[in-house]
Symmetry: C2
Subunit: 171 residues, 2 copies
């Protein structure tokens, strides 16, 4: 099961930290890459790549020019497009329909283009309340239960009841 | 089950949007309030209260001066303190131990005071990878399965496969 994330409407100044968080969530929960739209942002890309180089795995971040083109390309490959939005259908129902499929998970910024609702295969809500694309993405990806090994990590943690324990060995 | 969130180290300029997202996540997933530490921020508070007044419920946001004092007060009331950190023990194990208990869920900013790890009853990780306090909070609260009715809402959504549907009636 291959999952990518599309982040719409990035603004370098305003969204840098949230887009970084979204990319790191995508990586931590096992997506393979995040394509972001809006302003190209070298600092965002560098900070995500810095995490990948220290913490391992092959997660990629890239800037895209047209979400429509990406949607079309992905649909041709059989990818299902899941748009996370407070207006959508409950995610637990959507999860059941999409598990095991190749997915593009779409998250917006403040306002998404109207066309997204029609182009997505699923409009999917994580609660019907306003909150956060980062929170929605984390809950949805966690629900997919993807596995990631983060090969080649320089840093690796050992879960600990108190304080910080590192290991670089594979368990 | 009563759950509150403590957000540490807020900086008005840098963290406004992430702290807002964390507060809205807390509300959407059924916590009753968020206490934030660091810089007092009227804009953060106003934006969260604006959401509450439109979308209902009784979620509160307040500024705190001392996390130690809050921890002590809450411990006296029997509250268990769960610190979300990538260094901690897997959250699914922690969820089993804390379900049904009164909880204070603590999320940091970039760097949390060392003392937190010792003062918390549980240090709890949502993946042992770096990502986002917003993502961690959403996954943890979702796992608790809290219920919230958001009484008095002016705005209410009807889950929809396409587009946006509003209702103000209770289902």
């Amino acid at each position: 099961m291959v999952v990518a994330v599309a982040r719409l409407g990035h603004r370098s100044k305003r969204d840098k930290r949230l887009s970084t968080h979204c990319a790191l969530i995508a990586r931590a929960f096992g997506a393979e890459r995040m394509v972001y739209f809006g302003e190209k942002d070298a600092v965002l890309e560098a900070s995500v790549r810095g995490v990948v180089s220290r913490w391992g795995g092959s997660f990629e971040i890239e800037h895209g020019n047209s979400w429509k083109r990406l949607f079309n390309e992905e649909k041709k490959r059989g990818t299902k497009i899941v748009h996370l939005t407070m207006y959508g259908l409950p995610y637990k129902r959507v999860l059941q329909s999409v598990k095991g499929k190749r997915l593009l998970v779409v998250i917006g910024s403040k306002k998404v283009p109207r066309g997204i609702y029609g182009e997505a295969n699923y409009n999917c809500s994580i609660t019907n309340q306003p909150h956060s694309e980062a929170g929605a993405l984390a809950v949805f990806l966690e629900g997919l239960g993807l596995q990631s090994r983060f090969r080649g990590a320089k840093l690796r943690l050992k879960p600990s009841a108190r304080g910080k324990r590192f290991t670089t060995k594979y368990k």
